[in-house]
């Protein structure tokens, strides 16, 4: 599949129909997830704040998932110097920043009524903030260097360094005594929650994933066109 898509022409032909299809799948899944979300009863401990879980957990999951995509694309662009891999990395960063910002903001809005505080320097919260700073740093570094090839290389190295933070984010609730609850979705022995909450949560996770897939493809297509426009402008300038 990867071999097939590294050809820009084939990628453009594939993404032309895949992006809108993934967008439609995301809309359908989100509609189903939200419909079940607002039929679920309030949690016996958290009350109605449980509704925040259906938008916070998928955003938190995506903040890590998108960074993993950014890391793989950066690795491929560094090793193979492939323009499409660099475009994929560059296209993933703003989306990951959005998901991580959402995880932090919705987490804060969930933390206030459940923990009694908007923010605490807890291992999970702090490592997600560091993840956010890696995304912002990646975009800032790429924008700060004029030579596009050098900028892509420097940003890719920073992205690979940031990969160290991913296991810290994921296992922070296991390794340290954290105010944040342990993982109830991706855990050994399977998810630990009633089906009435698990079904809408999984639907929302898949909706976010499909939405990311659609937007990622759209942004990579934009990057391909941007490079084509730059090449055409250079040729025109002689």
């Amino acid at each position: 599949m990867l071999q097939f898509l590294v050809n820009p022409e084939r990628f453009m032909a594939f993404s032309r129909w895949a992006a809108p299809l993934l967008g439609l799948i995301a809309l359908g899944l989100a509609a189903a997830g939200l419909a079940l979300d607002f039929q679920a009863p309030p949690d016996y401990q958290q009350g109605y704040t449980v509704h925040i879980m259906f938008i916070h957990v998928p955003a938190a999951f995506m903040s890590e998932f998108v960074y993993a995509c950014l890391g793989v694309a950066s690795f491929l662009s560094l090793i193979f110097r492939h323009a499409l891999a660099a475009a994929a990395a560059r296209a993933a960063a703003p989306l990951g920043t959005g998901f991580t910002a959402l995880a932090l903001i919705t987490g804060s809005l969930w933390g206030r009524p459940t923990w009694g505080t908007w923010w605490v320097w807890d291992p999970r919260l702090t490592s997600v903030l560091v993840l956010f700073l890696f995304y912002v740093g990646y975009m800032a570094l790429e924008g700060a260097i004029e030579d596009e090839a050098k900028a892509a290389r420097a940003a890719a190295i920073l992205a690979l360094v940031g990969l160290i933070n991913l296991p810290i984010v994921h296992y922070s609730v296991v390794w340290w005594n954290s105010l944040h609850q342990g993982s109830s979705l991706l855990r050994a022995g399977g998810p630990d929650m009633p089906a009435v909450y698990l079904a809408p949560l999984l639907l929302m996770v898949f909706a976010y994933m499909a939405g990311f897939g659609a937007l990622w493809l759209v942004r990579i297509r934009g990057e391909v066109w941007r490079r084509r426009a730059a090449v055409a402008a250079m040729r025109a300038a002689g």
């Binding site: 109605y48 809005l109 009524p113 066109w225 426009a229």
Partner: protein, 51 residues
């Protein structure tokens, strides 16, 4: 059927949904407008192209 009541937690629940909707709207619009702009730039007739 649907229960949109968030009780005394409405002040936390609805802003969380509003921010999520806003961030998604920004990501979608930014992605589509960016792609459209570069597509137009890439497909614009070049000086050497016959009109």
């Amino acid at each position: 059927m649907f229960d949109f009541d968030a009780g005394r937690y409405a002040v936390f629940v609805w802003p969380a949904y509003a921010v999520t909707g806003l961030v998604f709207a920004v990501l979608i619009l930014d992605s589509l407008l960016r792609a459209r702009r570069w597509r137009r730039a890439a497909e614009a007739p070049k000086p050497e192209d016959p009109a």
